[in-house]
């Protein structure tokens, strides 16, 4: 019955790992060739892969795992998806209903464990609840502010066969996300923008999940607004656009942080003012009236005080705002003239401290690798990252042009996310180039998935920015802990070239700056999984950097 329902939900791929408590579903899956099953090597990777699939395609990712350790292994992946509002449905097997609570073999309280890290979860205790619950699971996962939903299905429920009716639509009386914004609030927002002298448009991941990128671009271009992005918002506005100031926050660009610190109106769309974005909250955009559009009311007024709260879908809210802009009938020239001085100031900041790094003839600089990669791929690739320095260098130096091309764990900051997420992204986008930018630390956290990627014949390119350190922690220790490098140096690292070869993939190692460009060119031509082990300057840092808890204007620049 479960598989029948998944077919009705038009699920075409499942990321999973079999076990005793899901063997009945797997038996059905065996007879269902129209659903592709990707056999991972660890359940955590299944959730990350479904997550990467969802982020890159906009569809719901589906995971199938067994009870007990199967379900506990998915926890990190579920929490990752939850923090970044990614729609996935995780189906977990459970011991038969009669045994629940008896400490049966491979029993664990899955709904109890996952309650705080899911948008919602269900334990199905009666067969008649199965169709409606699964319908609700998919509905809840993808509507409103998206998020992961866990459905725990006991073995005896899976075994029950029979006719069932699958509801076409579902209504939940206690769950009614607000999509349509309050028009009075939109008007207020417009008047603030009209009176503004130094406005900034800040966009977050909500813009991407709502599919509101076109509206963002139209609004920014019509009103001549500078655009800053959170990590999750990258790609929501073209990174190569003149009006893009790139990423703000702890590792944001100097000019992005300066623009926000000095603006008088901040229009935030689909962002949640995370501490990595605001730095010291009291010093965040101190002069600004803040307009905040978000579908989740809890995001508004949580961290910063908002002057014009707007609860609604980002896309619909921006459409309404654009309608008012149209009615107001101010010519483009008006906005251009109005913010001329503001743009002059921003350009001074841009010229003063552009993103930069020092080249070195002996060492490969990681920023250079990313820059070259951007040039060679023309910004057309899907880039997954791990977490740490590799992630920040990618966010700063790869100019994401399109939504859903940066696949990164923003909120939870999960090391080991990138590679399995890249697997999911490649499955969802078989004709696109998918690259995982990794560190030597993170890649080892889910390295076993090389087998999965090879089995699925995925031509993912893994680029390890290898400095032999847990680089981000080392950087903090260097700057704030008197260079006491406490357990951040790996004295043993695998030979990644041999490791790649052991799995039947291609491994290449480079150590010199002049090797970067030709090698990147070479690997981009290979239609097979490649690990490129790039030995970078071991103590290179990520800059600019705002120390934790400081104001975003207190940046360490180089």
């Amino acid at each position: 019955m479960v598989i029948e329902i998944l077919k009705k939900e038009k699920v075409d791929v499942i990321f999973g790992y079999p076990g005793g408590a899901v063997i009945d579903i797997y038996d059905e899956l065996y007879k269902t060739p129209e659903i592709k099953h990707v056999l991972v090597r660890h359940e955590q990777a299944a959730t990350h892969a479904a997550d990467g699939y969802a982020r890159s395609t906009g569809k719901v990712g589906v995971v199938l795992v067994t009870s007990g350790p199967g379900s506990t292994n998915t926890v990190t992946g579920i929490a990752t998806a939850y923090m970044d509002s990614i729609p996935i449905v995780v189906l977990t097997g459970q011991v038969p209903t009669k045994l629940i609570g008896n400490d049966a073999f491979q029993e664990t309280d899955t709904t109890g464990i996952t309650r705080p890290i899911t948008k919602h979860n269900f334990l199905i205790k009666r067969i008649e609840d199965l169709p409606r619950t699964l319908k609700a699971a998919f509905y809840i996962a993808k509507t409103g502010r998206p998020g992961p939903v866990v459905v725990d299905i006991p073995k005896d429920i899976q075994q029950t066969e029979g006719e069932f009716e699958y509801p076409e639509e579902i209504r939940l009386r206690s769950y009614n996300p607000v999509y349509e914004p309050h028009i009075k609030q939109i008007e207020k927002a417009y008047f603030l923008l009209e009176k503004a002298e130094r406005p900034v448009l800040l966009i977050g991941g909500g813009v991407i999940s709502a599919g509101a990128c076109e509206e963002v671009k139209k609004l920014a271009e019509t009103l001549n607004l500078p655009v800053v992005m959170t990590l999750m918002g990258l790609g929501g506005f073209p990174g190569d656009h003149y009006q893009s100031l790139g990423m703000l926050g702890m590792h944001g660009a100097y000019y992005a942080n300066m623009a926000v610190a000095n603006c008088d109106v901040l229009l935030a769309v689909g962002a949640r003012f995370d501490d990595r974005v605001t730095g010291k909250v009291d010093a965040f955009a101190p002069m600004a009236k803040i307009i905040h559009i978000d579908i989740d009311p809890t995001s508004i007024q949580k961290n910063v005080k908002v002057d014009v709260p707007i609860v609604g879908d980002c896309k619909r809210s921006l459409i309404r705002l654009l309608e008012i802009v149209k009615i107001a009938e101010k010519p483009k020239k008006y906005w251009k003239e109005r913010f001329r001085e503001w743009w002059e100031q921003i350009d001074i900041w841009r010229r003063r401290y552009p993103l930069s790094y020092k080249q070195d003839s002996n060492y490969i600089k990681p920023q250079y690798v990313i820059e070259k990669l951007y040039e060679l791929t023309k910004g057309e690739a899907i880039i997954a990252t791990e977490v740490g320095q590799n992630q920040m260098w990618t966010a700063l130096f790869y100019k994401f042009k399109y939504p859903r091309t940066l696949i990164t764990s923003g909120g939870l900051g999960t090391m080991g996310f990138g590679f399995p997420a890249a697997i999911g992204a490649q499955i969802g986008n078989p004709n696109k180039l998918v690259i995982d930018i990794a560190g030597d630390g993170s890649i080892q956290m889910n390295i076993q998935e090389l087998a999965t990627a090879m089995e699925q014949k995925l031509p993912i390119k893994i680029i390890i920015l290898n400095n032999g350190y847990l680089g981000m922690v080392r950087q903090w220790q260097e700057l704030f802990y008197g260079k006491r490098y406490s357990y951040v140096k790996f004295s043993v690292l695998p030979d990644f070239v041999k490791l790649a070869e052991a799995y039947g993939a291609i491994g290449i190692k480079i150590t010199k700056p002049q090797e970067v460009e030709p090698t990147l060119k070479e690997i981009l031509k290979i239609n097979k999984l490649v690990i490129l082990d790039v030995h970078i300057a071991p103590e290179e840092g990520v800059f600019p950097m705002v120390p934790a808890g400081k104001a975003t204007t207190e940046m360490i620049l180089v």
Binding site: T111, G112, R115, P116, K119, H120, N121, L123, I140, L172, R173, S174, Y175, D296, P297, T298, Q301, K302
Partner: protein, 165 residues
């Protein structure tokens, strides 16, 4: 900002785990629960909770929004904010009742309209109903007599209707 006590009236789906979700929300986000009372409503598919918490305005706003965000939560009303309301709590108090203080306990009961619901040779069980202040007054007066045990229900509250139409 000033911290205030708020009574929230919460209607939730009568499903397993709904209460755990609410309790988990409070512990996970560091909010306080001062008192919590749960029971069925006229509609057996919904449960009603009276939840008393405290915090400044921003915290209370977050608590209400976070509660509403839970899929199982049907409705949340801040009754303290809505104006006039009736609040009640019940306590069962087991108090030492020897010859010399039985009279006094009796008098206290009379004044506060308590009921004596159980009598044993050396103790009474009192049933007290009222708002928080009344309960505390009774407890203070009984304390010198020797309170053996107290069980309280936690607060329930309901909004008053408008006096004019």
């Amino acid at each position: 900002m000033e911290e205030k006590r708020h009574a929230l009236s919460v209607l939730v789906e009568n499903t397993p785990g709904a209460l755990a979700r609410i309790a988990g929300l409070f512990s996970g986000r560091g909010f306080n629960i001062d008192s919590l009372c749960v029971a069925e409503t006229l509609d057996p598919t919904l449960s009603h909770l009276t939840l008393v918490t405290h915090g400044d305005e921003q915290i209370i706003e977050q608590i209400i929004k976070q509660l509403r965000r839970l899929i199982d939560v049907y409705k949340v009303v801040d009754i303290t904010k809505e104006g006039n309301f009736v609040e009640r709590e019940m306590a069962l108090i087991k108090v030492r009742a020897e010859k010399e203080n039985r009279e006094e306990i009796f008098r206290i009961c009379e004044i506060f309209r308590c009921k004596i619901v159980d009598v044993s040779p050396r103790s009474y069980i009192l049933e007290v109903t009222g708002n928080k202040n009344k309960l505390e007054a009774v407890i203070e007066l009984l304390r010198p007599m020797g309170i053996k045990e107290i069980v309280r229900t936690g607060i329930i509250a309901i909004k008053r209707e408008k006096k004019t139409t």
